[in-house]
Symmetry: C2
């Protein structure tokens, strides 16, 4: 048993923070700690994403209060970009969150995104486990911005809430990132702005086409995190989705799927290291890579001849 796991089980708040740091840093200590922690299967991970300025943190704030009213302990993992531009907005968010800091039933943690979110999706899921061991039954996983990497993080969540606001040019970015496809609940925030109803209608149309036959049509809820209007309906929709996941067994299937992808991703990382080593140390590889007469496809085929276990079972397109 890892000493931090013991301390968390005994209700030591500081041990939770230390455990999350250990897990974030990775390595042998993290692995040993994870072996001592429960899987966190009973914890509902709610992803919250949307373009900057959409009001995710205000909505998170409202959802924390809703969960606290039900007597649930809540964890928050906020994925911050370590960005030269982000100071202002994020600082505001953290200040807003600070009102919960005196509440022992809320545990808030910022995770720095150092350039890439690559490994973050993997560690985010693991960071839920000390929170679950501490007794959190809900963990909000919040990302700032929408892009492929945030979508990767969101796939860790059981329920994904996408926050949109009317009239934002960011919608293109949102749509491109593929997050539309993985959202389980849509919150149209700042619903008093012009265009909110039209936006909600457009999303509903998209969502209904897509949802046919899946058993879950993502609800599209107009709300205002500033006034509190409709926010309870968002929280309710999250609970309904949780019940849906449990009843259909889809929740467990999703987690299994995600676990499998996380394992395979680690093997891909190993393979990438192996490739890099070949490219820099193996002279036959170097020759092929330096041959300017070959296009990328041809060069890949030549190299594949040196990897018979691979070329036998798969084909280059």
């Amino acid at each position: 048993m890892h000493p931090l796991a013991d301390r968390i089980a005994a209700g030591d708040r500081r041990a939770v923070a230390q455990a999350m740091t250990v897990i974030e840093q990775g390595g042998a200590d993290a692995r040993e700690l994870l072996r001592s922690l429960p899987s966190g299967a009973e914890c509902h991970v709610v992803g919250l994403t949307g373009a900057p300025g959409a009001g995710k943190s205000s909505l998170a704030d409202c959802m924390i209060r809703a969960a606290r009213t039900e007597g649930l302990k809540v964890g928050v993992i906020a994925v911050d970009p370590s960005s030269p531009f982000s100071g202002g907005a994020l600082l505001g968010d953290r200040v807003r969150m600070a009102r919960h800091s005196a509440d022992d039933g809320v545990f808030i943690r910022s995770v720095a995104n150092r350039g890439s979110l690559g490994g973050l999706a993997d560690s985010a899921r693991d960071m839920v486990r000390p929170l679950a061991a501490f007794g959190c039954r809900v963990v909000l996983l919040e990302t700032v911005g929408v892009g492929q990497s945030e979508v990767d993080v969101m796939r860790v969540a059981d329920t994904v809430v996408l926050v949109l606001i009317p009239g934002a040019g960011d919608q293109v970015q949102v749509a491109k990132s593929g997050v539309m496809e993985i959202a389980d609940v849509f919150a149209v925030n700042k619903s008093d702005l012009p265009g909110a109803d039209a936006l909600a209608r457009d999303i509903r149309r998209l969502v209904e086409q897509r949802a046919a036959g899946t058993g879950w049509t993502p609800p599209v809820i107009c709300c205002s995190a500033a006034t509190g209007d409709g926010v309870e309906r968002v929280w309710q929709a999250v609970q309904e989705h949780r019940a849906f996941l449990a009843e259909t067994g889809l929740g467990q299937a999703r987690r299994r799927q995600w676990h499998q992808e996380a394992v395979l991703r680690r093997l891909e990382t190993v393979f990438r290291q192996w490739l890099q080593a070949q490219a820099s140390r193996n002279s036959r590889w170097r020759d092929v890579l330096a041959d300017e007469q070959l296009d990328a496809g041809e060069a890949a085929e030549r190299l594949l001849e040196h990897v018979p276990w691979l070329s036998g079972s798969a084909r280059l397109e």
Copy 2:
């Protein structure tokens, strides 16, 4: 010799369009066509990126005119998101571009981004080749939005122009995506808006720290694509960067680096297919992946035991 390559060499415009379609679709025909086309090494690929609404297309428009004034043939590859939200803005862009459609010296092509830009970076570089064979000495490669996938596409370019505007919340997205790190020229567009000078100053500070010792400090140019102010200076900076790449040999080094990555990426794709096949068909793999007692790291280690050629040369973190 592929028949399309012959027709392009003879100056057949329609053949260029057909060749790009063939390359976009990939497969054996594309490979044969590429073998018949020159490498396009003499063509300067200028990447143009920035958040939606930053004015990339207007700037592209101005740059096309500048190149045409110098008598250069220009190709444009515009990477469009196939997005349910994008209709309006992009349609506007295409209309703006239409003014060049009567000009035989300009070839414009939209490439649909079907969900992911994964393979697009590879095919974008290949799509430059029919344009180069047609006589284009400049190809503008334009992406809408900024995210990891656009950054991947931009790495194909010789010179990357990042378009920013003052006061946009998208800056966080821009900063996170890593595109700040790969930009060679910064254009602060809509320079009449408040905050433009401050933004330019902030970027300059960032850029100067980073550029120390590299031989190239990315210029930060305030401009207005609407009025044309400063746009010529952007074009001039692009030309200066081109000269810098040629003089230092960095241009060729960059292309070699990119080619190598493109080759290795193809091998990664093959490995991913192989992994998927193991995960679905190999019962030992299935057992390990289904074992809920193992965390992702442990499961990956177990599986690695079945791949001795890999486990011998690389280590799981």
